[in-house]
Amino acid sequence: MTDPTSPSQEIVLETHDLTVAYDKKPVLYGIDVSIAPGQLVGIMGPNGAGKSTLIKAIMGLLEPAGGWIQIFGESNKSQRKRVAYVPQRREVDWDFPVTVMDVVLMGRYGHLGLFKRPGKRDRDIAMEALEKVNMIPYAGRQISNLSGGQQQRVFLARALAQESDLYLMDEPFVGVDAATESTIIDLLQDLRSQGKTILVVHHDLPTARQYFDSLILLNMRLVAYGPVEEVFQEELLQRAYGGRLTILSEVADATGEKSKVDLSAKR
């Protein structure tokens, strides 16, 4: 369901000179990207490159230390209903007393606000989302009785139930079975064909080439951004994965230390 008022050439997501810090320690420096609609974008880079941080900043879960983010030409926080976020699977307690359906319905809460109860339409949407990930038979099951792949599909269904235009997914392919991986990739391609934009944090270089239209290569700094063929080059990959940028990370560490010193001085 794309918004008919928004022209298709509109830029979905734009960041300018985006700098994000964790505990006063910068993790991302001056990121500039501008993403057109209807694309499957992979975010890649070594551990600690700031991939999840980038996604969280776009979602407005982390305050940027500098620069700005725009989604559909507006501030990111005003566009929450058009953005769906799929966190890493291990970030929640899977023994929580809720069923698969309960979790998928949570995808509707953003539209419902604080007090409204989900109606029949919301249930239908949730059911449809479950069907798309082949999880209808598990709708009434407690989430603790699911395999890793099934858990990931529940999270995906919850995001689908949000009916958004931009999807941000944090490592959806980690620790899932082959069947789930192919379900997910089919789903992503289906979303793209509906004109939606999907950003996926990904680890596996070989599959990245076949899954994505374009790639964001990160290593604290933006190493490269562009169509897969252009980014998938020995030299660029070497720059992203060939160790951390030494000076940059040292400066970052020093800044982190300094902020700690400041704090202890205040006490």
Binding site: K56, M59, G60, L61, K77, R80, K81, V83, Y85, P87, E91, V92, D93, F96, P97, V98, T99, D102, V103, M106, Y109, G110, L112, L114, F115, R117, P118, Q142, S144, R158, Q162, L263, R267
Partner: protein
């Protein structure tokens, strides 16, 4: 008439009986009662005749609502230790509230204790933010130091002359009988507030408790909801202090909720169950302390007896809950073990019959014992299980002989079929050597379901022989099987 009211007449009669009973001595204080008969005391306690007892039961009701609702969220958010810390951290506030008015003024104590609780919570998060210490360490530290301050202050108050400080120790161990009208108003108010907030904000609270980051990503005010929950929790703890005491508050907060957690897979059911359990534990605990008082003629604190009741409920759920309870798990284990013994025995008989090419109907027990390398008695014990299940019968013409019933033969064919199909699957598809597959099939044969077997068979293209050249019983064999058919088939398989 709806089924709900079907039990009304006897219940009504009981109520009328209770109220019509000649009331025995309206004692001003419960401790003045000396009744020995437990039944009489039960009736007296729960017949709501005494104003004092009505206060107690009402207090338990309000407390149960507060702790059931809030405790459930505390447990699923893994904040049990936070509840514990909060309940100890309020104590200095009680003392300060008392010092301020120099009496047990409920409003002053409520205010002081709530402030102290929130101060404790703030200290914990401040320590966490400004040091490398993790939450558990910060909680433990704040719990102990705040509680120590509270004890010191209260001991000081007890030394002040000319101040009525009776009942201060109730804040440690709890005494539901000391609940006054103002206390009840505050407890009731908090219960109403908790109920309204949990009912109205159920979904946002659920979403933020399950997945904070996601909840924030869809714009739910996650921090605000958390603070509302903490504030309610602080209030609930403070107003319950008089009845349960600082030492036992966390038991009443956590135990009913953990019990409910064991019993259900849905949050709203957990909320209701926890509330019911907390109310029941509170009332039963108060009653036990009331009975105990008559026996030892000394004011028994209500906190520990309430906590004991809650713990008792937990123990029951832990042992008897339908899916995860220890007793049920053990019984399931036993019945599974028995099933495996039965099936293995059936299989042994089938094999023996097979080696006779199904020409004999009965198999000598001695022969089975020899095949299994066990004593005659051991084999007999196993065979008796079959007889009890109607799968076989004994006959003792020339020594003991076992005969399978038609059901027994069907069941035996089914097990053998599972075993041989699985062996074939392993050798054909998983590249196992023919002499490696038996042990694995021994386990799998008992757990293969009907559908899996059919799928396996389709997958293997309806095989007739296992890797060792033995015939695999067909689906029809496992359903209806006159013995002579098997004998004929056995002839066909022979090369």
């Amino acid at each position: 008439m709806t089924p709900k009211f079907r039990h009304s007449p006897p219940f009504l009669a009981l109520l009328i009986f209770m109220f019509a009973m000649p009331s025995e001595a309206h004692a001003a204080k419960i401790s003045e009662l000396v009744e020995v008969d437990l039944g009489d005391q039960f009736v007296r306690f729960f017949s709501l005749q005494d104003a004092a007892i009505r206060h107690i039961l009402l207090g338990c009701l309000f407390m149960g609502i507060n702790f059931g609702l809030l405790g459930s969220f505390v447990v699923v958010r893994r904040m049990a230790l936070v509840g514990d810390t909060l309940s100890h951290a309020v104590l200095p506030g009680v003392a300060v509230g008392f010092l301020f008015t120099m009496s047990k003024e409920p409003w002053a104590i409520l205010l002081g204790a709530t402030m102290a609780g929130l101060l404790g919570a703030a200290t914990v998060s401040w320590i966490q933010r400004s040091t490398r210490l993790k939450q558990d360490a910060a909680l433990g530290m704040v719990l102990a130091s705040f509680f120590a301050v509270g004890i010191c202050l209260i001991k000081m108050i007890e030394r002040i002359p000319s101040v009525n400080k009776s009942g201060l120790d109730h804040f440690f161990y709890g005494q539901a009988a000391a609940l006054g009208r103002a206390d009840l108003w505050m407890m009731g108010g908090t219960a109403v507030l908790s109920t309204i907030i949990v009912v109205l904000l159920y979904r946002p609270l659920l979403a933020t408790s399950f997945d904070q980051v996601f909840a924030r990503s869809i714009g739910l005010p996650e921090r605000m909801l958390f603070h509302v929950l903490m504030l309610l929790l602080a209030l609930a703890i403070v107003v319950a202090l008089q009845a349960v005491g600082a030492l036992m508050v966390s038991a009443m907060l956590i135990t009913p909720a953990t019990t409910a957690f064991l019993l259900t897979k849905r949050m709203h059911v957990m909320l209701c169950l926890a509330t019911g359990l907390a109310i029941a534990a509170g009332m039963l605990g108060a009653f036990l302390s009331f009975v105990g008082e008559g026996l030892v003629s000394h004011a028994l604190p209500t906190g520990p007896s309430m906590a004991l009741c809650a713990g008792g409920f937990f123990l029951l759920a832990f042992l008897f809950s339908p899916h995860h309870g220890l007793v049920f798990r053990y019984r399931r284990h036993l019945s599974q073990t028995r099933q495996i013994t039965v099936e293995n025995t059936l299989k042994a008989i089938y094999r023996a019959m097979e080696s006779d090419r199904f020409k004999e109907e009965g198999i000598a027990v001695r022969r089975l014992a020899g095949d299994a390398r066990e004593t005659f008695e051991e084999t007999m014990t196993r065979l008796r299980l079959l007889v009890r299940d109607g799968l076989a019968t004994f006959a003792s013409t020339r020594g003991e002989v076992i005969y399978l019933t038609p059901e027994g033969l069907q069941h035996a064919s089914r097990v053998v079929r599972n075993h041989r199909l699985w062996e074939l699957y392993l050798t054909n598809e998983a590249d196992y050597d023919a002499d490696h597959v038996h042990a694995d099939a021994e386990k799998v044969e008992h757990i293969l379901g009907e559908d899996q077997v059919m799928e396996l068979e389709r997958y293997l293209d309806y095989p007739e022989q296992d890797p060792h050249g033995k015939r695999i019983p067909s689906l029809r064999d496992t359903q209806r099987l006159p013995l002579r058919d098997l004998a004929v088939k056995e002839e066909e398989v022979e090369p």
